[in-house]
């Protein structure tokens, strides 16, 4: 017994002593002439892999194109891209791996990982952009190193509600179908507040969409008893397409207003004919809008033997998100400082408008010290004849 106590005490003392000693660390030195490393955390096979894959493809294609075009200030971009399959612990592990490799910035993907890594990237001083447009990421007080390149879900819902109010021309009921998770709930309250602030003659009720459901008729019948003629959907394309199919099957006269995650070609493909006439709120213009910013992508793709039509708008989304970051890095290099995360952050905040050829929202993305919300404008499209036809571009709430 005495033996054991002595051993434990000795072990404890040694442990305490060892904790004080410093160990070997990771590789954090940045090479001042070598490639610029950016860590990319992508969802290729997880729950949102069907949209994550073209997004990642577009992002990496931009890197390839930019490097061929002389890189950033003569230095190549080295994008380290790995799949985390929407598993937050894997995202955290990949983040640490990239940190170890000495990246200067991170491109994330979803709300789950963006919010989980929020405090870490600010502690480690790495600018972070992602495809999560949650409101909390735009506030530099809460998330100083996060940058949101597109309008937030709340902004998109505001635009959607404006459109509904206009289309209804009078009092109308809106049913909001949302993913049964914090991602789905994100814009709800802001949407309700907007209705009262702007005095819109609308009434909105929210219905969570269960994840593995073969049909959404239950929700539709509740929406019907509410008298809803418009359904705003904050979810990804597959469930939204199911709702569209069910609306046709039920012979209901309801119009869907999809927010950006179901407002894409996939929704139209999946729903087929049932997609006709529904409204899509999408900040990133699809190829079919044929804007100035699409040309460079189309040219690149032609060289690769593909086309924008084949790749879809999430490709464009990834492309321009990386472009915005690259421009920030270019600006940081130009100011002559060491290329650190903080320098890039300050460059993004101070450089003014970044041009995206009209593709993102109203066309220009701008950050500032008080706001990391790059854009509030979005495009409103209608699904017609199997494509996304623009109704109005550059709409702000």
């Amino acid at each position: 017994m005495n033996n054991t106590r002595w051993t434990v005490a000795a072990a404890a003392a040694t442990t305490l002593a060892l904790t004080a000693c410093a160990p070997g660390g990771g590789d954090t030195s940045a090479d001042s002439d070598g490639p610029i490393k950016i860590g990319v955390i992508a969802d290729l096979t997880g729950a949102t892999g069907d949209v994550g894959t073209p997004y990642n493809k577009g992002m990496l294609a931009y890197v390839k194109w930019r490097n061929a075009d002389g890189g950033i200030d003569g230095r190549d971009i080295e994008a380290i891209s790995k799949d985390y399959a929407y598993d937050v612990p894997t995202a955290e592990r990949l983040y640490k791996e990239y940190l170890n490799e000495g990246v200067v910035a991170i491109q994330g993907w979803g709300t789950g990982d963006s919010e989980a890594l929020m405090s870490k990237v600010s502690a480690d001083e790495l600018p972070f952009m992602s495809a999560s447009y949650a409101e909390v990421l735009t506030d530099p007080a809460e998330a100083p190193y996060n940058f949101v390149v597109a309008p937030t879900y709340s902004d998109q819902l505001r635009v959607g509600l404006n459109w509904i109010a206009q289309d209804a021309g009078g009092p109308a009921e809106v049913a909001m179908f949302h993913n049964d998770s914090p991602f789905g709930l994100a814009p709800l309250k802001d949407g309700q507040d907007w209705i009262s602030e702007e005095g819109l003659d609308l009434n909105m009720e929210a219905y969570p969409m269960p994840a593995e459901s073969a049909n959404y008729v239950g929700l539709l019948s509740q929406a019907k008893s509410q008298g809803a003629e418009y359904i705003a959907i904050q979810n990804v394309s597959s469930p939204a397409a199911q709702v569209a199919r069910d609306i046709v099957a039920q012979g209901l006269d309801m119009k869907i207003v999809c927010l950006n995650w179901c407002a894409d070609e996939q929704f139209i493909d999946s729903a087929g004919e049932s997609a006709e006439g529904h409204i899509l709120v999408q900040p990133f213009a699809p190829g079919s809008a044929e804007l100035e910013g699409h040309q460079v992508i189309e040219e690149f793709l032609q060289g690769e033997g593909s086309s924008l039509e084949k790749e879809g708008l999430h490709y464009v989304q990834g492309w321009y998100t990386m472009h915005i970051m690259a421009e920030g890095i270019a600006q940081a290099l130009e100011s002559g400082d060491d290329l650190t995360g903080t320098a890039i952050k300050e460059a993004l905040e101070g450089m003014g408008a970044i041009d995206t050829g009209g593709v993102v929202g109203t066309g220009e993305v701008e950050f500032s010290e008080d706001s990391h919300r790059g854009q509030t404008g979005t495009g409103v499209y209608v699904a017609e004849g199997g494509v996304m036809k623009p109704l109005e571009l550059g709409v702000t709430p």
Partner: protein, 291 residues
């Protein structure tokens, strides 16, 4: 009334597919004692096999369905032979884990070949809305799903009641030793149980893929097999059918009249409630254990 009828039809149609999947599960459990966690993945394989045969290789529909069934039989027999046979006698947790491992492998294979995007398949069953009552219309395909599932389930019931192999299976499920002494090849029965389970799941998968979409999400439908089995008991085909339909209806009613998010866990809540009162399921037989 309209809403109720509407919800009932959809609930029954989802429930019918669940019953098909659960039937396979029950078959395997009764005959071999294995708890098969890969049932959802069988649904997946079924839907994708049909997709490959019908859309990729452009075979006529009937040929594609027969091919799907054949692949199911082959898969079932292969799994039983290679994976489950060596584990006879191991404890329950090991067998559960092997089926979980199997599920992961099947999912990965589908992912490797087809990717994660939903694949587009032309509707197999007609979708035109049918007016049941004035003001209530349901799409024809949902009604046909109920019909097809009913036919398949009736065929299985007949098989078990009348055919020699069916009776042999029931014998093995009841008492393996006695069946062996009667000259029944238990090995053959095991293989048959897995093959039939796969067939049942494949048909369910094809139907499910048609009314929703063919994508990796089909596999998660398989988790609802467990509440069905608890509700309906593991001892009879009619019980499974009742269980499947009930779970389908409950989910549908909850999503139609209550909080739709709850519809996802309502079957589990029901399951726990039942198990509290009857630890062997609603229609299950109390197991007599001897030391």
């Amino acid at each position: 009334m309209n809403t109720f009828l509407n919800l009932t039809v959809y609930g029954l149609s989802d429930g019918a597919i669940l019953a098909l999947a659960a039937l396979g599960f029950v078959l395997i459990y009764k005959a071999t004692g294995v708890i098969n966690f890969a049932q959802g993945e069988f649904l997946l394989i079924g839907a994708y096999t049909l997709y490959s045969a019908f859309v990729v290789f452009r075979l006529p529909l009937s040929v594609a369905v027969v091919l799907g069934v054949a692949v199911a039989v082959a898969l079932g027999v292969l799994i039983e032979r290679l994976v489950l046979r060596p584990l006879v006698g191991e404890n329950a947790i090991s067998v559960i884990m092997v089926t979980i491992g199997l599920a992961a492998v099947l999912r990965a294979v589908v992912q490797l070949i087809f990717g994660t995007r939903p694949v587009s398949q032309p509707p197999l069953l007609p979708r035109n809305p049918i007016e049941l009552l004035p003001g209530t219309s349901v799409p024809l395909n949902r009604l046909l799903v109920i019909l097809v599932a009913a036919v398949v389930l009736a065929a299985f019931t007949l098989f078990f009641r009348r055919s020699r192999h069916g009776i042999a299976m029931r014998a093995v499920a009841d008492d393996q030793q006695a069946a062996l002494t009667m000259g029944i090849s238990v090995r053959r029965i095991f293989a048959m149980a897995w093959a039939l389970a796969a067939v049942s799941a494949v048909v369910g998968g094809i139907l499910l893929g048609d009314v929703t979409e063919v994508s990796g999400r089909l596999a998660s439908f398989g988790l609802y097999v467990f509440p069905v089995v608890i509700l309906g008991g593991l001892d009879s085909v009619p019980g499974t059918i009742v269980g499947g339909l009930t779970i389908g209806l409950i989910s549908q009613y909850v999503s139609g009249y209550g909080d739709p998010g709850l519809a996802q866990i309502a079957p589990y809540l029901l399951l726990i409630a039942i198990l509290m009162v009857r630890p062997y399921g609603l229609f299950g037989e109390t197991r007599i254990e001897r030391v």
